[in-house]
């Protein structure tokens, strides 16, 4: 089995113990995104502190191992960062998945475990959906 490429230990760990996962009330939910094609769904909320850092991300994710693990790593990566940096990180990750950008593995942290996804075109959406969701949430907070 060559699945290690895709289902690295790190991914399974995040899938089984998703960080920042939560049960959200309807009022809390900022974005609710779904990929009906595969049934992945994420409901997400985020807060930006006075100083412009992402102070909180919580989500309720339903989907395959890749999508849940990606949400978990996403939250871990972005919480605590200045919004501008978070946005950059989102863009970089999406470009990485699309194979349009190389990133030094040392800069990726845990995210390095998701790099293999880019070799499975049908799964790229699984990994990127939560990143798009959080971007939409940040957009909403910015215009609110």
């Amino acid at each position: 089995m060559q699945m290690d490429d895709l289902y690295q230990e790190m991914i399974i760990d995040h899938y089984k113990h998703p960080r920042h996962a939560a049960t959200l009330t309807d009022e809390e939910v900022l974005v609710d995104e779904e990929n009906p094609t595969c049934g992945d769904r994420i409901r997400l909320t985020a807060t930006v502190a006075e100083d412009g850092t992402v102070s909180d991300i919580r989500y309720d994710a339903n989907g395959c191992a890749i999508s849940v693990a990606s949400a978990s790593m996403m939250a871990e990566t972005l919480v605590g960062r200045p919004v501008g940096e978070a946005r950059e990180q989102i863009r970089d990750f999406v470009e990485l998945m699309r194979g349009r950008k190389e990133i030094d593995p040392s800069e990726l942290g845990d995210l390095v475990a998701l790099e293999g996804v880019k070799n499975f075109p049908m799964r790229i959406k699984c990994a990127t959906m939560c990143w798009h969701a959080v971007e939409h949430a940040l957009n909403q907070l910015a215009t609110a």
Binding site: M1, Q2, C38, G39
Partner: protein, 425 residues
């Protein structure tokens, strides 16, 4: 690779099918995936593989008599036309159509159904008229009617699916007491495997004054289907799901319906006489075949039908039924596996969930072991949601599958189960 086929195929043996010889005719079954593993192809409800006879029929057409049909009287065009029309005759024979002219070539089931929705539905349906579908319809037999309903004001009604995966026929009878103009029903569910009692349903619909369209995408490829016996008004199916080329399918309809229906696509060869602002139409079936048709596709489909006939559709059905039975028994050994669809009459499409593992992860894992199955909503989103899921996994069989394929799948599912149960970060 193919030798493994001979190891476990008691059903095939009984039916006199030589699995090794049969598989030898399918080039795709000789390729390997993921570092030398035999391809175990179990996604036949999506599309089937092609025997060399079909691949060669297509190539030979291009090599020896490619020309535009019906339009020219030179020698090559005459040959191409003869082959194209012979394919039509083959298809008519295959489904027991009373007349060759009742066979319209389309791109596939989807276009066939859309053709009926436009050519028949737009002219006939009025607000308040009803179309009866079932809850197990493929999107291709659902969306065209949603769009038609939006255009005409007709209403859609749905026959419920019972717990065992069969249709609620009592409810069907009640629905028929309404103002029903059309019943559009799948012959076999691509999700649940259920084979619906279409013959009886047609008789009841006719008594209620409704026409019946049968979605034969999963039936015509897998067991004997005879339109004269079913007495259906329309039958739609796809070539690519029955060993044929891509881009070709069939709409069968009764002569009087085809004659009274409006053309769907306008263009070359579907006309009789054209003026600047009006036109009259060619005879059926040409009225419905605007533009240059998929000649190679039709000819390849004719070859597929002739190839299938050497075994007989009844043999094919018995082989698949036995294999499906075997598959269900073996799959139920896998811990946490649930099968959807337990109709007494069912074909070889077996959908399942694996407790706690997303179908995409299941499909990806077994793929890595050389096994191609499908995961997703299988184009029946509303039913899958109703079953409490967003996606399922599905294995589906064809003539060239045998017990060794099922064994491989079951072993791979066990491994998947173990990986997700034991792996932990």
């Amino acid at each position: 690779m193919t030798t493994s086929a001979t190891m476990t195929a008691p059903v095939a043996d009984e039916l006199g099918l030589d699995m090794a010889a049969l598989r030898a005719e399918f080039p795709m079954l000789h390729r390997t995936v993921h570092e030398g593993q035999r391809l175990v192809y179990l996604d036949n409800a999506a599309t089937t593989q092609k025997p060399a006879a079909v691949i060669d029929a297509v190539a030979d057409y291009y090599r020896t008599c490619n020309a535009n049909v019906h339009r020219a009287l030179h020698q090559v065009a005459a040959e191409a036309t003869a082959l194209y029309e012979a394919a039509r005759t083959d298809l008519a024979g295959f489904i027991g159509a009373p007349e060759t002219e009742c066979i319209v070539f389309t791109r596939g089931t989807t276009e066939s159904i859309n053709l009926v929705a436009h050519g028949w539905g737009d002219a006939i349906l009025k607000p308040g008229d009803e179309i009866v579908l079932s809850e197990m319809e493929h999107h291709s037999n659902l969306i065209p009617w949603q769009l038609l309903a939006a255009r005409t004001g007709a209403q859609l009604q749905f026959i419920p699916v019972l717990d065992d995966g069969t249709l609620d026929l009592e409810a069907y009878r009640k629905l028929l007491s309404g103002n029903v103009k059309l019943v559009a029903i799948t012959h076999m569910s691509n999700l649940l495997g259920t084979i619906n009692p279409v013959r009886e349903m047609v008789a009841e619909a006719h008594r209620a004054g409704a026409l019946v369209l049968v979605d034969g995408a999963q039936s015509v490829p897998h067991f004997p289907v005879n339109v004269t016996d079913l007495d259906c008004d329309f039958l739609a199916f796809s070539g690519h799901k029955m060993l044929g080329p891509t881009g070709i399918g069939v709409l069968y309809a009764r002569r009087n319906l085809l004659e009274s229906m409006q053309p769907f696509l306008g263009g070359g060869e579907m006309i009789l006489k054209v003026d600047w602002r009006s036109a009259t139409w060619a005879e059926i079936p040409h009225k419905f075949e605007a533009g240059t048709p998929n000649m190679a596709g039709a000819i390849g489909l004719g070859a597929a039908v002739r190839w299938l006939r050497q075994f007989g559709m009844d043999t094919l059905h018995r082989h698949e039924a036995a294999l499906t039975q075997y598959a269900i028994e073996r799959l139920e050994e896998v811990p946490g596996l649930e099968i959807f669809g337990h109709a007494p009459e069912r074909g070889g499409a077996v959908s399942f969930s694996l407790d706690g593992i997303h179908p995409h992860d299941v499909a990806q894992f077994v793929d890595q072991q050389g096994i191609a199955i499908r995961a997703g909503h299988m184009c029946v989103q509303p039913l899958i949601r109703q079953l409490g899921h967003a996606a399922l996994s599905r294995a589906s069989f064809y003539l060239y599958n045998a017990e060794d394929d099922v064994d491989a799948l079951v072993a791979a599912l066990h491994k998947t189960r173990e990986f997700f149960d034991h792996a932990d970060g």
